[in-house]
């Protein structure tokens, strides 16, 4: 495989910021059998009409959907606003949330490039310069050094402060902040402890909190919708009641069990927080949770309150204000119900949003202790609180590690202990655990279905993950053997669905994906056989 062109000099580096260069499909990381001859079509360009309204990044892809300014005056106004926001990013009042980590990462990178090879997007793309972990961080650093620091404009060339601010540069910076999944794999390898994912998130935050620029799926139809309608899926309490009724019927039909979905049970042991995307796209996940918790005799409830029935908090990916609003709302709901604890369902970013990040935000009067569902499920499965027959799961299973749960929280073994108990043909991907590759849908990418971003996501950001999946199943890759990628995270499942569909993996290799609880229920003796349905959805 030939790598993408590299800049020969510092001057040339800036070319990658403003001159457009699309992803070359021939340079994407190659895939193993049976994909040696697989040919990717180029990522489609946006139509003339769209281009006249929406700005694109230096790779011709649009994620943030930035409106083209009406005239030069508007351009200048936005550039000036950016600089004002940049200054705010370094004040404790406006950015106490991440000021210290930001300063440390901005001021101490030694540009050794040790982090580059760890990045699945950079390497997966055939090493496109604009996707290098330090590229966007370096652009921001140069702008800060030149425009914010006293004397920054003295000898800018000598000191490397050679990025001249313009609207085009800002568009590239904003767009490139959506070419990183914030997976933090690069940060793990940095010898200094610099975190390029954090810098990327701060760039997104600056654009959102100062200029109102953010990926619409995260903002308008994400956090704004969640705070106003109740869920980013648009699901309101009436719709929720319908879904639950359907879930109860479905459970009865599929398993023969009579289970009532508990709602707003005051004083329950657990308030279970699901990603509402499960209700609509993977109702079997919600059902499997209900079956396990009921049969294990756990006291639990769901909430029907606005925001309380959707654990999603996309603010985590781009905006501290929106993040805080949703996190507070979640805790308020739990507190009001008087539950003993919260349990986060199979959703990686909700884990991180509700547990370590919320830990330093929720005031004492709203505090409720929170646990990962993986830990509770481990207890149920390993201590045999339900009857299991692992031979029902006699098919190859591999585990995808959601970055937020493993790398950012250190929850690694519970899910493995469960799989070792219920899936006799479980095998790991390489690398795995805290060193896993992101699915390519992290930081909100999985929910972005507009413009040409999904084409980029399946070809570029998910490429290494798909290769890992193929490698994990290389001994049984024929389509006649059904295989299961266990992805205990709603966003990862969204990305898996798109990846497996794009690469036609069900037809070519018999690879399906699903959550962890579905596999547990599939092995439960008290449930009719065949809970996992072998069809692509």
């Amino acid at each position: 495989m030939e790598n993408a062109p590299r800049p020969a000099s510092r001057e040339e580096l800036n070319r990658f910021l403003t001159e457009h260069e699309g992803v070359d499909p021939r340079r994407l990381v190659p895939l193993p059998f049976p994909y040696e001859d697989w040919e990717d079509a180029p990522i489609p360009e946006l139509s003339e009409d769209k281009r006249s309204r929406i700005e694109v990044g230096p790779d011709g892809v649009a994620a943030a959907q930035i409106k083209v300014p009406a005239d030069d005056e508007e351009r200048d106004r936005r550039v000036a606003a950016f600089l004002e926001g940049l200054a705010k990013l370094f004040t404790k009042e406006n950015n106490w949330t991440f000021l210290q980590p930001l300063m440390l990462s901005m001021e101490n990178c030694v540009k050794c490039q040790t982090c580059a090879e760890a990045c699945p997007i950079y390497t997966g793309s055939g090493r496109m310069e604009a996707y290098r972990p330090t590229f966007r961080a370096e652009v921001l650093r140069k702008i800060v050094n030149r425009y914010l620091k006293p004397g920054g404009r003295i000898l800018p060339g000598l000191r490397g402060n050679d990025v001249e601010l313009s609207w085009d540069v800002l568009v590239s910076l904003a767009e490139l902040s959506y070419r990183c999944t914030l997976c933090r794999r690069c940060a793990q390898t940095c010898p200094v402890g610099v975190d390029n994912a954090l810098i990327t998130r701060e760039i997104r935050k600056l654009f959102s909190q100062e200029l109102g620029i953010a990926m619409p799926e995260l903002h308008e139809t994400g956090t704004i919708k969640q705070l106003t309608v109740g869920s980013s899926t648009g699901l309101n309490p009436a719709g929720l009641a319908d879904i639950m009724e359907f879930a109860e019927e479905d459970i009865q039909e599929k398993t023969g069990l009579d289970i009532t979905m508990p709602f707003d049970v005051e004083g329950a042991e657990y308030l279970v927080m699901h990603n509402a995307g499960e209700f609509l796209s993977w109702p079997e996940n919600l059902q499997a949770f209900a079956i396990i918790l009921e049969l294990a005799g756990v006291s639990w409830t769901l909430s029907s309150e606005l925001v309380g029935y959707d654990s999603v908090n996309y603010g985590l990916f781009y905006d501290d204000v929106q993040y805080s609003r949703i996190a507070l709302k979640h805790y308020e709901v739990a507190r009001k119900l008087g539950v003993r604890k919260m349990m986060v369902g199979e959703c990686g970013h909700a884990h991180k949003a509700l547990m370590p990040i919320a830990d330093r935000l929720i005031p004492e009067q709203l505090r409720v202790r929170t646990e990962s569902c993986l830990v509770v499920l481990e207890d149920i499965v390993v201590n045999e609180k339900i009857l299991l027959d692992p031979s029902r799961n006699d098919f190859p299973v591999t585990l995808h590690d959601p970055c937020n749960i493993t790398r950012s929280m250190g929850i690694v073994e519970p899910q493995r202990k469960i799989l070792r108990k219920i899936a006799p043909r479980f095998r790991e991907m390489e690398p795995h655990g805290v060193h896993n590759y992101c699915c390519g849908g992290g930081s909100g990418f999985a929910i972005c279905q507009s413009m040409n971003f999904p084409d980029w996501r399946t070809r570029v950001s998910g490429r290494l993950k798909f290769r890992q999946i193929l490698e994990a199943f290389s001994d049984c890759i024929e389509p006649e053997t059904p295989k299961y990628v266990c992805a205990p995270c709603s966003n990862c499942k969204g990305q898996m669905r798109d990846l497996l569909n794009y690469y036609e993996a069900w037809d070519r290799c018999g690879i399906l994906y699903g959550g962890l609880v579905e596999l547990i229920v599939n092995a439960m003796v008290d449930v009719r056989e065949g809970f996992v349905e072998w069809e692509m959805h």
């Binding site: 909190q209 330093r360 250190g410 690694v412």
Partner: protein, 299 residues
């Protein structure tokens, strides 16, 4: 160079270096509490959890368990990083060939400098001047070799070159010169002479300072005074990036100092300008109001 300049120069260098470093560290240390941003593996997790990168969140009802922290785990991690540059060796072997000798050269020069000061203070064993000379010779030699290798890599390696500014090359040249001067001083005079010169200066005697030694002191001093204001402070910034960010997994407990710091932070005023933020209020107010009340949720 007359010896009358030596004392003020050394004093100036020490003052600027120490004050600059304290200022830099102080900026990091006094930054407000931030939201957690742990990154696993975390070195103070006890084994065997540390081995798979696990955290206390793997425990059922983690808040009821005593928190175990393995200081040995942290110490081993730091020692491997400092002594072997383990991370660079594992992930960037090419650079390590330059970086490893360079850092070891600096360590040896720091040790030698400490030895010189102890010698000046009257300590004898084990500060034999031959040992000090060996320290300066090997330290200087390694710094020279390491800087040259890094300079070549930064000028030729296509992944480093575009990220290297002229000032970075100047820094390396400067360090190479310093390394060479250290070697020169060790060979020309021996470090016993340096101790004698400094002791004499301290006692107010007029001593002759050779040109090579004067150049070495000038270059070394300039470098030390400049360093705290560059990214070369990563030797202590790294303490903060690890302990205050990626390994900072301390959970909030009621009535703890963290809880007080949170209360203070929630009272900071917010003036981000996007419509959905509702600027001009405190964090607590902003976080408890919905975005749509005044601006229809439009950013």
């Amino acid at each position: 160079m007359t010896s009358t300049l030596v004392l003020p120069w050394v004093a100036l260098v020490l003052v600027v270096f120490v004050a600059g470093s304290i200022w830099r560290a102080w900026r990091y240390a006094r930054a407000p509490m931030h939201l957690r941003w742990d990154l696993y593996p975390v070195a103070h997790e006890p084994a065997p959890r540390r081995d798979h990168g696990g955290s206390y969140l793997e425990e059922r009802e983690w808040w009821t368990r005593p928190r175990e922290r393995s200081l040995l785990g942290e110490a081993v991690f730091m020692a491997e990083e400092i002594l072997f540059l383990k991370g660079v060796r594992a992930n960037n072997r090419r650079l390590w060939w330059g970086s490893f000798p360079f850092h070891w050269g600096l360590y040896l020069l720091v040790l030698t400098t400490v030895g010189i000061f102890l010698g000046v203070a009257g300590w004898r064993l084990p500060l034999d001047s031959g040992l000090l000379s060996l320290g300066a010779l090997t330290g200087g030699g390694l710094v020279l070799a390491g800087s040259v290798i890094l300079l070549v890599l930064r000028s030729t390696d296509p992944k480093l070159r575009p990220y290297t500014a002229p000032v970075d090359r100047l820094n390396l040249l400067f360090l190479a010169l310093f390394g060479a001067l250290c070697v020169g001083v060790a060979v020309r005079y021996g470090l016993g002479h340096v101790v004698t010169v400094l002791s004499g200066v301290l006692r107010g005697h007029e001593v002759r300072v050779g040109r090579l030694l004067a150049a070495q002191m000038a270059v070394g001093g300039l470098f030390l005074m400049y360093m705290p204001f560059t990214r070369m402070v990563h030797f202590f910034a790294k303490y903060f990036t690890y302990h205050d960010v990626r390994w900072d997994d301390t959970p909030m407990e009621p009535g703890s100092p963290l809880a007080d710091r949170l209360a203070a932070a929630l009272n900071y005023g917010v003036d981000w300008s996007a419509g959905h933020v509702r600027t001009g209020k405190t964090w607590a107010e902003v976080a408890t109001t919905l975005p749509d009340e005044e601006k229809g949720g439009k950013a």
